[in-house]
């Protein structure tokens, strides 16, 4: 059964427009022109209990708007959304008691207070019974390795420590659904890995449904079974990442180090990308020429030192996908 049902969701913002310069500013005082911005147009999807879904798309695509509607912050212009039978913006208080939210670019902890005071305040906000709170806090502290930061004021934490605290803060009331809006933004490599591991464990071990937005495709590769791509307010793709990759860019790379000078190769379906002394970089389509066949043809005719096959970088796949759909930010 679906936990989240989204049907034909649309959101239009109205923004004031004015001509540039002083004259434009003066004119804007007298008569204001409004322009409608369509942030979301006819977005539909469903998410099952326990799924981990990555929501990706270029800046301004509508990812955050989607998260804000799903978490009850924004009211859509039209469309339907039901999460565990509740409409987020109509039954906001009941809905938000059951979800956890992290906005990577903002802080929900009190800047001047020690972390633990912020956690205690959230305990009271969500009316968590004391025994449940102790158990939940203990588990999260060891899971996120927060023992040493609990009594520090939030402003003294590093970004990585803070983000671990933010995620813990969103889970103190044991929500069954977690929204993470760019949880790895600005983090260094070890912190990113830690956050990914945590999110993965929450999903696997506690069965928490997770909706994650990110610009870091490694987050998606490491975590998400399913990717929803949004561009210009519309859903462009919805499925496993491998499917997306195959549909967009089936091409793979082969780099060969020859023993002598690199030869001229003429194999149908194989494209030369770069020749560098004894090395050749080739691009091929594995559906036309499978890698083993290509490699055996090359080594049969030429002495070879080393050979390896590479998949295109995940960023390349996504950039190409956005371009194909005209979704890259203007």
């Amino acid at each position: 059964m679906s936990q989240i049902v989204v049907e034909a969701l649309s959101k239009t913002y109205r923004i004031a427009e004015r001509d540039p310069g002083l004259l434009g500013a003066v004119r804007g005082l007298v008569r204001r022109r409004w322009r409608a911005i369509e942030a979301l147009a006819d977005v539909s999807f469903t998410v099952g209990r326990g799924e981990l879904v990555g929501l990706i798309g270029p800046n301004g695509a509508g990812k955050s708007t989607t998260i804000k509607i799903l978490s009850g912050i924004l009211e859509p212009t039209s469309g339907r959304c039901e999460i565990d039978g509740l409409t987020p913006w109509r039954q906001r208080v009941r809905h938000v008691a059951r979800i956890g939210v992290v906005f990577g670019q903002r802080s929900q902890l009190w800047w001047d207070l020690p972390v633990i005071d912020g956690f205690d305040l959230l305990r009271d906000i969500y009316r968590v019974p004391p025994a449940r709170y102790r158990a939940s806090l203990g588990e999260l502290v060891s899971l996120m390795r927060l023992e040493r930061v609990l009594d520090q004021p939030v402003r003294q934490l590093s970004l990585g420590q803070r983000m671990r605290c933010e995620i813990a803060a969103s889970l103190l009331h044991e929500p069954a659904l977690l929204f993470l809006d760019e949880p790895t933004i600005g983090l260094d490599a070890p912190s990113k890995l830690a956050v990914r591991e945590l999110v993965g464990r929450l999903n696997r071990e506690r069965g928490v449904t997770v909706i994650l937005t990110t610009h870091d495709m490694h987050d998606i590769e490491a975590l998400a079974d399913r990717v929803i791509v949004i561009g210009a307010g519309r859903i462009l793709a919805d499925g496993p990442f491998d499917e997306l990759r195959a549909g967009v860019l089936s091409e793979r790379r082969l780099s060969v180090d020859f023993t002598g000078e690199a030869p001229e190769l003429a194999i149908p379906g194989v494209r030369l990308i770069e020749r560098d002394g004894r090395r050749l970089e080739l691009a091929f389509d594995p559906r036309l020429t499978p890698a083993p066949e290509l490699i055996s043809r090359i080594v049969a005719d030429h002495p070879v030192d080393d050979i390896h096959v590479e998949e295109p970088l995940i960023e390349e796949v996504v950039a190409r996908f956005y371009d194909l759909h005209g979704a890259s930010e203007a």
Partner: protein, 277 residues
């Protein structure tokens, strides 16, 4: 049941109170400024009474002086600016987090406003009382001191009235917060409210010392309920039915401004556009 319902709001009040108490330097600086202004106002009032004796006028000099110390002590209870924490949240988009809490949005801002104001007022009032209420009489300057309430009933009326005044100040602060949320800027509203509050609450000059033609009007406008009415009760200038009427007037303003604030907040939050990201 009620305890469970009130738990988040009590916690929000406590957290805000605790947080503000950390700022000792600000409290001391505020206290210093308020002493300085208090002294000047006491000197001006004395000169005014000596130049033009009022006889059995509306207020004695002694009461005017004590009024001044009380007004200075309770300055932080005046709604003269939007809550800076809410201003920051509105501008940074952090206000989105307020919307994902299972709370009544108005109640949450209201308790934080009260926590913010009372936490700033409490240490300043205590220091002011120590100086103007204890030290001045002890060193023989009793003429210039902060005197006790007129009577036991006056003290009780004052306690009830200053509580209502504080609730009203909270309601006004939330209205200021809402103006900031609607306009994305706090400077205009703060600039307007500071002089308005200082003048109309009686902080600058007790409202009884204003010209006769203005007094009735000044009594019923909402800012009088913040300070002037509680202080009239303190000095026994309003007693019996008059005192009860004054309390009813304060309660009416609280109900009106809380109701209006709630209605506006509901509208505003529906079309709120959380900035950025």
């Amino acid at each position: 049941m009620i305890a469970a319902a009130a738990r988040p709001y009590l916690a929000g009040f406590r957290a805000r109170f605790q947080q503000m108490l950390q700022y000792r330097a600000a409290a001391l600086a505020g206290f210093g400024t308020q002493c300085w202004w208090g002294t000047i106002k006491v000197m001006v009032l004395t000169a005014f009474y000596q130049a033009r004796p009022l006889g059995a006028g509306p207020m004695t000099l002694a009461d005017s002086i004590a009024y001044t110390w009380l007004a200075q002590a309770l300055l932080a209870l005046q709604p003269w600016a939007a809550d800076p924490e809410i201003v920051l949240a509105v501008k940074s988009g952090g206000v989105g987090y307020d919307r994902v809490r299972p709370l009544d949005a108005y109640g949450w801002w209201f308790v934080r406003a009260i926590g913010w104001m009372t936490s700033r007022a409490a240490p300043r009032a205590a220091l002011m009382y120590a100086v103007a209420g204890v030290i001045l009489p002890a060193v023989g300057l009793g003429r210039w001191a902060w005197s006790a309430p007129a009577s036991a009933p006056a003290a009780a009326f004052f306690a009830a009235s200053i509580t209502l005044g504080t609730l009203l100040a909270g309601a006004m602060t939330v209205l200021l917060d809402l103006i900031v949320a609607a306009t994305m800027n706090e400077r205009g509203v703060n600039l307007l409210l500071t002089p308005l509050t200082i003048l109309l609450s009686g902080n600058l000059l007790p409202l009884l010392l204003f010209p006769d033609w203005a007094r009735n009007w000044l009594f019923v406008q909402p800012f009088a309920s913040l300070l002037d009415i509680p202080l009239r009760l303190y000095f026994g200038l309003l007693t019996g039915p008059g005192a009860l009427e004054a309390l009813a007037l304060q309660a009416l303003w609280v109900v009106l401004l809380v109701g209006g604030g709630r209605w506006w907040m509901g509208r505003l939050m529906r079309r709120l556009q959380v900035q950025g990201g």
